[in-house]
Every structure is written in structure tokens, then in C-alpha cells.
Amino acid sequence: MGVETIRCDNLVIGSGPGGATTACLLAEAGYDVVMVEEGKNLTIKSAPSYSLEEMSQKYRNSGLTPAFGKTRITYIEGRCVGGASEINAALYHRPLPQTLKEWQLRYQIDDFGPDTLTPFFEDIEKELSVSTRPGGLGPASKILGKGAKKMGWKTHEVKRFWKFEKGSKGTGGVRQSMSETMVPRALAAGCRLHAQTRIKKLILKGSKAVAAVGIHTDDHGKRTRVRFDFDRVFVCTGAVQTPTLLHRSRITEGIGNSLRMHPMARIAVNFDRPANNPSWGVPSLQIEEFKPHLTLGCSHSSLPHIALWLTGQAQGKREKLAEWSNMGVYYAAITGSGIGSVRNIPVIDEPFVRFPLHNQDLALLGEGLYKLGLALFEAGAKEVFNPIEGGPTITSPDGLDAIRLGIPQGRVNVTTIHLFSSCPMGEDERQCPVDSWGKLRHVENVYINDASILPNTPGVNPQGTVMAVARRNLAHFLAEA
């Protein structure tokens, strides 16, 4: 197998929200840029959202990636041009100002905080059409809103990265993922995209990285070795793949030791009346009364998803699923207190992720599901399917006590798509392997510009924060250059 060598001034590895933003802004500033992506270059409409096809096409390992601990957590990563922005719920938040202030103080981040980041958030909101659905809330959100109102809790309709058609109901319009926005802009500004190319490692010479080597696989499975020679490299492959790549490149100091995430548990609920319409996509109402440590909201609720969340929980599942349009899936998400790790497994070159879900986190998840159940009973729920494996179906608010009193380790399904902090940024060298602007310490020309550098859990859907921090870092880089 020969080696194809490509020369560029700036190599961006990864094309998700961090990578696409980095490549786009560099290219638009006139820099020579190559962007490399392991997955395929697909359109946003190449597969229906949350379908099996989408999982095969765009999810790493088809979505079957576990973080190990007493309770296993299934995490999801995008593996396609656009990364996670192609498969997530496209929900947009600015983090709470106190969260950003706390990060600044705790990690000693220079020139960082709500005021510094505001212009970058504003740019994102304008450029990616951040907006609420013109047709109002869908049925699942209305139910949650009704329950929250009865409980006296604040709710919030979350804006989305979405260009809605005027007067559209459901999800009419187009998700403003990276493949629809920053990637085409980067290409128009001269960036060269190499999809289906997996970078195996960076080659170091002294204190500098000089090249990245990897494998390109074409549509017929033919593999070609590739080498990218560069002046500087931006590693933007997400909170799991970025530390794994750095470990493979023998850059290990402080890398991958502080993974954080938003663990999420779900309940399926039967209302005995229409409660669900998957054509509305992911319902966008959240209960924000308990933020940032606890967020309650609605999940995608198609027939297969409802069947999945009912597995092992309900007797007579078949009869219940015949009326699946009366059901909805709802979630509780927390800012996990655990700190996980990411390591590269030698020989097979895959990440091994550990994350401890502490008993206090399980208690908070239980509290969240309990509160969710209370609100949904207030809104007319007839049955809440017990999220604890083997637990009985709950038919009254009193029955929810079983969840509130504690979820045993390993007995509930926990998932996440929000992972970050594996290489946190800041001037506190004991905690932060990259400086306040994403530059790696100890290696001259390696930058990280993705969710890895968020120093802690944002407590909200993180894509907006990842992009705002990436823009901030790029603005600093361009000003210094």
C-alpha cells in the first residue's frame, strides 16, 4: 500500500461543531486549511433522524459504545462530516452566566466569561438560524408544560439550530447542522475536505508535531495510507476521540483524565389519549426549575423508541404498543459529579472509556424521574413504566416513591450524547493540559478546539458552548498570528 502525502499549513482533524467552526474561520481568514473526517460526507437527509439507517451511517459503532462503571452508560458519537451536529437534537442554549464565571475562577481561564463569550453566541444565533418553531409546541411538550404548570415549575421552549419554513408545523425546514452551514462555507473559502480518512497518530519531531498519518477508505473498501504534513494542527474529534488520538501519538500528560458528561435516564409514559407525534421531531420544552444540575424534558418518541424503553418493564407490552401514539418518552439529565477517563487500547486502537456514576448521581436521576412522573401524572398520565429493571408499572403518584427512594447501581438504562472536559483548558497547569486558548502545553503547534476543552459540565445542551468557545479561541489565534 503506497502513501499519499498532502501538504497544508493548517490541518483540522474532525468536522463536528468544533472542527467545522475552526476550519471555516481559518479558511475565511485566508489560511490554507485541510479538514479531515473519519466518517462519510453525507447530506442531512441521507437517512431519517433516529432511524436504523442513520445509526449505521452516522453513529460511531452504530451507537453501541459503552462507558464502563458500576452502571454502564451508553454514549453516542457522530462519525460523519458534521459530527454530532448531524445526529443530536439540535437544541441550542447559552450556559448560565454563573457556570462560565465558575469555570473562569476554578480553572484560571484568561479573558473568559459571559461578557467575553456573548458576541460569539450572538454570531452563532444569527448564522445558524437559532430559533423556536413557528408552529408552537408539539403534543408531548404541551403535556409536559401542563404538568409543570400545575407543579408551579418554570419551563422553557428551547431554541434550535433550525431554519424553519414559515408557518411550518412539525420539523418542516432544515436542521442547521455543520454539513449545512460551516462545512460548505469552509469549502467555499478554499478548505480541502478529506472524508473517510481516519488519522491514526500525529508524528512528533522534538517539541513539534510535523505530520498526521492515517488511512483513507473508499466506498469499495479500498484502503490508502495518507500523510498530512502541516505547520500546525487543530485536533477537534470530540471528548473521547481527541484524547485517544493524542494518547496514540504519545502525548499523554494530563490528557483524558477528566472526562465529564450529562448522564440521562428515561421513562415511557402512557396517557390513554393522543400524546405523541414523531413528525414533530424532538420535543423542545424543558423544565428548567432545577437547572443546571437537573434538566427534565421530552425525548424522541417513535414506535421503536417506545418499544425499547418498555423492554422488560411491562406486562402485555404488545397490547400497550398497539396504542403507542398515546405514549411518550421523557428524560431526566444531570450534571454527573463523576470524573471519567479515556485511554487508548493498544493494538486494536480503540478508546476505553470509564465513568463512575456515583450513588449521589443515581439519587439525583431518581429524583429527576420522580419529579417528571409527578408532573406527568398531573398532566393526565395513566401509567409510568418503571425505569428500574423488573420494577412494576406505576399507576399513581404514590408509586413513584420507589424511584425516589433510590435507583440501584446497574438497574437502569443510562445514556448520553453530551461528553466533554477530557482535556480541560485554563492556566491551572495541574488540571489543564491546554492553555486558556486551546493550545496544548509541551507541544508547540497542537491546538484542541472541541468539547474536550470545556473545563466542566455546562448543564445545558453543549453544542452552542462548544462553538462559541471554538470561535473565541480562533479569534485569539487570528489576532495573534
Binding site: 432511524s51 436504523l52 449505521s56 459503532n61 452504530s62 453501541l64 459504545t65 459503552p66 454502564r72 417513535s302 414506535l303 421503536p304 423508541h305 418499544a307 425499547l308 423492554t311 422488560g312 407490552k317 404488545r318 404498543l321 487500547i345 486494536i348 480503540e350 476505553f352 429493571e389 446497574g410 438504562n413
Partner: protein, 130 residues
């Protein structure tokens, strides 16, 4: 064909029997397209096992083979050659085992199998309405 694909294909009949037993018990067998859905679900599930990280995929294949062989010790024939009733019994035995990894093994087939089966069902229903 990759080594991983070849190895996974060795356990395809066991995967099919596992899907059949977990899905049939909960959802019955009387859907007009049941057999077709089971075949399609089996195809998707074997693909999913191939696509897992290597450190999960290989143990999953091995465990599936062990599960099949365990049937010989219980009923004198491998799991995939037992009757549906016998298969459901063996699934129950592992599902309620005190050993966590055996429970996890059945849990994977139950959850993913049900999800994929309903994806097939949904596709058929949508196709009918188009």
C-alpha cells in the same frame, strides 16, 4: 470478507433463534410479516455486532456461541436447534442468572432486538400507507 464478518456469520443461526425467542415471547408470532421481520432483524443485529468496538464485538460473538453450546448441557442439543418453548426457557434462565454478564447478554438481545424488530415493523407499516 473481513475476519470479523466471517466470525460473526458463524453465530447467525443462534442470533436468529435468540431474536425469535425474545421477540415472540413478548410480542407473539402472528404478525403476517413476522418471519420476514425476524430475518431482517437478524441481519441488522449481526451487522450491529460487527460494528461494535472490537473489545465488545468478539466477546459478544464468543458469548453467543457459549449460549448456544449451553443448550447441549441442558437439553442435549444446541440452543438454535431447540423448540421455541425450550429456547424461551433457556433465555429465562440466563435472564435471571445471578451472574451479571449473563443477564447483560440477554438484556442486549432483548433491547436491541425489540428496537430493531419495531423498526422493521414501522417501515412495513409506513410502506403500506405510502
Amino acid at each position: 470478507m473481513s475476519l470479523r464478518k466471517r466470525v460473526t456469520q458463524q453465530v447467525t443461526p443462534v442470533v436468529k433463534s435468540l431474536i425469535q425467542s425474545v421477540v415472540s415471547e413478548e410480542l407473539g408470532t402472528d404478525h403476517p410479516d413476522h418471519a420476514q421481520h425476524i430475518d431482517d432483524t437478524t441481519t441488522v443485529m449481526t451487522e450491529r455486532i460487527e460494528m461494535m468496538p472490537t473489545f465488545l464485538s468478539m466477546p459478544m460473538v464468543l458469548m453467543t456461541a457459549v449460549f448456544d453450546a449451553y443448550g447441549v448441557t441442558r437439553k442435549g442439543k444446541p440452543f438454535h436447534r431447540q423448540t421455541l418453548e425450550q429456547q424461551i426457557q433457556q433465555v429465562h434462565q440466563w435472564k435471571h442468572s445471578p451472574i451479571g454478564s449473563l443477564r447483560d447478554f440477554i438484556d442486549f438481545y432483548e433491547k436491541m432486538g425489540t428496537f430493531v424488530y419495531y423498526c422493521q415493523l414501522e417501515n412495513t407499516e409506513l410502506g403500506r400507507h405510502e
